[in-house]
């Protein structure tokens, strides 16, 4: 009896020419031989030659003691079976049928299985634990399950030699381990000789009896794990220069792990402390409290960060990596002095219609879903939320978590991932915020406490009464009532603050302003308006009003008309025409009133908007014909931060030429001029003609030079005087607002007990 199951003697392999010559290898029964080497080194070619998919170009392959040339197809197939990487999609074959094809060499003319054959197939099923998927269609199971079925098929063939080509590719770690441990057991129990190619060295190291290293058109080394896995050799084989090779694991080949220098902030603490702010309803001021707390913690010297698992908002912020998160979280991150990161808001919902929202996961658009679809799907997003939280947790000391809406929406409470559900996952304490300005603060706070489950109630360690107008001393009775009835301490009474930070979303009060001041800017209130924080900067001017206008008669006599960004350009353009706003805008434009379009508004100013890929419902819509540009909607969403300048400004805003512009772009179309027109913002992001200006840049007004230039031009035009000297960059302005916010909170809240809730003494 030979001491090997498979042997090659002077074997030459290759496709159309010789790739590797003179290969002599031996595989013994019960042993596992692995082939390692870089991509394209010839591992698969060798396996394909052994399994006769490629012609032998020279030399001999022996199975047991017989040359394969002298054996019939059937004889060979009784000795050797294989599992390849190829992606099979047989129609209408159950897994059981696939497994049973392994009996092929043993059956008669028509391939009908005898009872004996069926028993062997049963055993193969048992050995691979595939009985539960046997009756399912092969095409309907997962990659990992398929690989198991293919292994069962190979076992069914009762081979003496088993050949596997990268059996673990495309599998996750669970299936990887599953398949490999089965292969290992198979070799040991059935005395099968196994030959397999594998990419994962750390696995090869622990699994192989013999390792064959292939590279440079030859067999470089063949031997035990200790012989082949030498650091220098592996580095040479794969051409690894600088990378830390100890990541592959230590022992037996290198003794100790080299210390990887980690980022200092990652090593400080394993897990951050946390506190969650929930509200009795939306609009109670959670976002501001979170922002303020973030700032207070930062001022105390802690590294803090905001977190909100799921945010529903029209306004989004683009991070440095080009990912979308809620604007509120970005604002809160800036309060912490941190760069906004996508892990601060893993899920963002942007309403696109009455019932549907764009679902953005980890900063990327995942799908458009109806509320119902999302409700069914949201549980699947828990891993994303947890992963984001954990990532953030490694970066900071304290995480201030913001809830959403009310934690006591009884009909929606199952599968909650934003309020108490999230608090349970993270195991954190909660502060509950009520809004006294809107009235009914006792009902809000006590009612919410009442509706919560006992274990949820326990998480609430303090109440906050927000937006209190007047002298807090007058509310002492109120505090006593809340504390006796709610059995929770009132942490503080926060006064009503007139603070200008970025608005969360459509809930903003700004929409209802209708007072007209010396300089009157009319923003068209599109139904799907988005990213309208662009206009916050005008708050700095006493004499400038920004009004949101829906009807043409409300336009009155504005000094400037602005078309803001929108989620659905074509839809909102149709709305403009329905409302006859288009005629009104054109009329004002013809009288010399500046018209400014941003993003979607810029697209509307052009001649035509085409939607060939059906991103917004298809078709083509005529624009307002104020700028000689055409827009074509595309599938790709462009998200990027922008640093450029105003190249040329025609008309009244001539003064802002050469001014620096910072901001960001987020849109799905490309806009190109079809006629002579001046480039407005750099990189072809905007164009202007006369007193009509269009640009893709959100935040274009944020620089003081630009905003004061514009206001001044408008004032000069109407021969009014407006004070523009004290204007600062919007970012500096906001910074001041954050300071006011933090100071107010520090004064009104019991920070010591909040620190205790966070877990810091």
């Amino acid at each position: 009896m030979a001491d090997y199951r498979l042997k090659t003697e002077g074997l030459t392999i290759g496709y159309d020419s010789d790739l590797i010559r003179d290969i002599s290898l031996k595989v013994q029964p019960g042993k596992i031989m692995t082939l390692i080497g870089p991509n394209g080194s010839g591992k698969t070619t060798l396996l394909k030659t052994v399994t006769r998919q490629l012609k032998i170009r020279g030399g001999v392959i022996y199975l047991s003691e017989t040359s394969m040339d002298d054996m019939s197809d059937t004889e060979i197939s009784k000795q050797m079976s294989m599992v390849m990487t190829s992606n099979l999609t047989p129609e209408y074959m159950t897994c059981r049928e696939v497994i049973e094809t392994g009996r092929y060499p043993y059956t008669g003319m028509l391939g009908i299985l005898s009872d004996e054959d069926k028993k062997i197939a049963d055993r193969a099923v048992e050995m691979t634990d595939t009985s539960d998927i046997c009756d399912r269609q092969f095409n309907s199971i997962s990659d990992g399950q398929r690989q198991r079925v293919m292994l069962a098929r190979a076992i069914c063939q009762e081979p003496k030699v088993l050949v596997l080509d990268e059996p673990t590719s495309y599998l996750d770690i669970r299936y990887k381990l599953d398949i490999l441990s089965r292969i290992k057991k198979l070799a040991a129990d059935e005395n099968i000789a196994v030959v397999m190619s594998i990419h994962e060295l750390e696995i090869a190291m622990r699994l192989s009896d013999v390792v064959v290293a292939i590279g440079d058109g030859k067999i470089l080394r063949c031997g035990s794990v200790d012989e082949v896995f030498k650091e220098d050799f592996i580095r040479d084989l794969y051409g690894i220069k600088d990378a830390d090779i100890s990541l592959l694991g230590v022992k037996p080949w290198i003794d100790k792990e080299t210390v990887i220098s980690k980022k200092p902030d990652a090593s400080v603490k394993r897990k951050a402390h946390s506190i969650m702010i929930q509200g009795t309803m939306s609009g109670v001021g959670k976002s501001l409290i979170v922002a303020g707390l973030c700032r207070v913690f930062t001022d105390m010297g802690y590294k803090a960060a905001p977190f909100k698992s799921q945010n529903m908002a029209l306004n989004s912020y683009i991070t440095k990596d080009g990912l979308e998160i809620g604007r509120a979280q970005a604002m809160q991150a800036i309060c912490c002095g941190m760069e906004p990161d996508v892990c601060m808001n893993p899920i963002l919902l942007k309403p696109t219609g009455d019932k549907t929202s764009q679902v953005i996961v980890n900063g990327r658009v995942k799908a458009n879903m109806s509320a119902k679809e999302y409700f069914a799907h949201k549980k699947d997003l828990i891993p994303d939320i947890v992963a984001a939280y954990e990532k953030l947790s490694k970066m900071v000391d304290i995480i201030v978590i913001e809830g959403a809406g009310s934690p006591a929406e009884m009909n929606l409470k199952s599968d909650d991932i934003v309020n108490m559900g999230l608090a349970d996952i993270i195991d954190t304490n909660v502060l509950l915020v009520g809004d006294i300005d809107r009235g009914g603060v006792f009902a809000q706070l006590l009612g919410t406490l009442d509706l919560l489950e006992p274990h949820e109630r326990e998480r609430i360690k303090g109440l906050i009464v927000n937006k209190f107008r007047g002298d807090p001393a007058l509310f002492e009775d109120g505090i006593r009532i809340l504390e006796t009835k709610g059995k929770v301490k009132v942490n503080g009474i926060v006064p009503y603050m007139d603070i200008h930070v970025e608005d969360e979303d459509s809930l903003t009060d700004r929409f209802y302003v209708n007072q007209r001041k010396a300089i009157d800017i009319a923003v068209i209130r599109l139904p799907h308006i988005s990213n309208f924080t662009d206009f916050d900067v005008f708050d700095q001017f006493e004499d400038v009003s920004v009004r949101y206008v829906e009807e043409s008669e409300d336009l009155c006599k504005p000094d400037m008309i602005v078309l803001p960004g929108t989620k659905t350009t074509i839809g909102d353009l149709k709305w403009i025409k329905e409302k006859k706003l288009d005629q009104a805008i054109r009329k004002h434009a013809s009288m010399g009133v500046p018209v400014f379009g941003i993003c979607g508004g810029y697209q509307m100013l052009g001649r035509n908007i085409d939607d060939p890929d059906n991103t917004e419902g298809g078709g083509s819509e005529e624009g307002l014909l104020l700028l000689p540009v055409d827009t074509v909607m595309g599938k790709e969403k462009r998200r990027t931060q922008f640093n450029g300048k105003v190249i040329n400004a025609t008309g009244v805003f001539n003064g802002i030429c050469e001014c620096e512009v910072t901001g960001y772009e987020i849109h799905m179309g490309i806009t190109k001029p079809f006629d002579e027109v001046s480039e407005f913002t750099s990189d072809s992001t905007g164009h202007c003609s006369g007193n009509v200006y269009g640009s893709y840049i959100h935040g274009i007004f944020d620089k003081k030079e630009i905003v004061s230039g514009i206001v001044k031009a408008l004032a000069d035009k109407s021969e009014r005087r407006v004070e523009t000297e004290s204007v600062i960059d919007q970012s500096d302005y906001r910074e001041r607002q954050y300071e006011i916010l933090a100071d107010t909170l520090k004064k009104s809240l019991d920070m010591d007990s909040i620190l205790k809730m966070v877990g810091i003494e």
């Binding site: 399994t51 009784k78 294989m82 390849m84 129609e91 209408y92 094809t101 092929y104």
Partner: protein, 338 residues
């Protein structure tokens, strides 16, 4: 594969087959009563005309529809297996048109010289044409592995062959044209028992040989590499697949002209009814299904505008093209969902 499902599907097809046969015997430009049919088969005396209609016109035609329809579907099944491509069939790949072209050439050349080539000659020349078209498609399939390009090339081949055939028909002697023209549109009319004998022999041989291929075909479903590993002689299998499918397609074309879409649609219909692709079931099922469907279509072709006959290809096209489209859409969806 579920035994109970297979049995019920086969039972349904068999019952349908009997109903189709009965209807086809009775219906036509002359209606024959059920009693008369029984009488004819029982050997009792009936009107001589009725007897002739049934025995010499309708019965041969029915048998031809059964055998040729079955062959066509089977040929389609083999081609789909060979190319691992769900939207091929003898008509789509231009094999039927290739056969049509050579038959037309032979007919015109020989008839003009006063020879009558007879049925066997027709089959031989059709087979030659089928192999020619198949060879062309094979060359393309080696060069490009893309499914749709293969089908497009097949359709183009079909068009070229049809164009040349039309050209020949245009310049042929008048006396040949009528005959040739009818045939080239596809029709089962004018079958006689002599033809049936030859058809039967060819069909039975092909069916048996194909059935014997069911074991390797079964393994081939997992792709060439695995099939080879299981001990399938790939070269031999491929040669057999090509020979059998071409021979069957040629036989159909020689006797009935090109009949469209039966070859593509039937295997899919059967597969989705049986919910298995096991060849040992699929081969007889495709054959029976093809028989029933062709019989049904021929019945329609004969009767809707009776006494004028519609070409059977028109009927099969109208009925089966939607099926083919549904198949393609479904495949796309599946591919997309993966």
């Amino acid at each position: 594969m579920k035994r109970s499902r297979c049995i019920s599907v086969f039972t349904i097809i068999s019952v349908l087959l009997m109903i189709m046969v009965a209807l086809n015997v009775m219906m036509g430009s002359v209606s024959v009563s059920f009693d008369d049919v029984i009488n004819v088969f029982a050997g009792r005396s009936v009107d001589e005309m009725v007897r002739t209609i049934i025995l010499n016109i309708r019965l041969p035609r029915i048998v031809a529809a059964l055998l040729l329809g079955g062959s066509l579907a089977l040929s389609g099944y083999l081609l789909q297996t060979f190319f691992a491509n769900p939207i091929v069939g003898p008509f789509v790949l231009g094999i039927s048109s290739g056969a049509k072209l050579t038959v037309a050439i032979t007919l015109i050349i020989l008839l003009s010289k006063g020879f009558n080539i007879g049925s066997v000659g027709m089959v031989v020349s059709a087979f030659f044409g089928a192999m020619l078209a198949m060879g062309f498609v094979l060359i393309i399939s080696v060069k490009v592995k893309n499914m749709s390009i293969l089908v497009v090339c097949g359709i183009m081949t079909g068009y070229i062959c049809s164009a040349i055939t039309d050209l020949l028909v245009t310049f042929a002697d008048d006396s040949n044209i009528v005959n040739l023209h009818n045939w080239s549109l596809g029709s089962l009319s004018g079958m006689n028992w002599n033809d049936i004998r030859i058809i039967t022999v060819i069909t039975i041989i092909c069916f048996v040989l194909t059935f014997l291929l069911s074991k390797p075909i079964s393994a081939y479903r997992l792709g060439e590499a695995y099939a080879r590993n299981m001990g399938v002689n790939i070269t031999a299998l491929r040669v057999m697949l090509i020979l059998m499918s071409s021979l069957m397609a040629a036989c159909v074309t020689a006797f009935a002209g090109p009949i469209s879409f039966v070859g593509i649609a039937v295997p899919h219909l059967m597969k989705s009814m049986l919910k298995t692709s096991s060849p040992i079931v699929m081969i007889p099922a495709s054959f029976l299904g093809g028989a029933v469907l062709t019989l049904f279509c021929d019945g329609i072709a004969r009767t809707v505008f009776a006494p004028t006959e519609v070409s059977i290809s028109s009927v099969t096209a109208v009925l089966l093209v939607p099926v083919v489209i549904v198949i393609m859409i479904k495949r796309r969806e599946e591919a997309g969902s993966r």
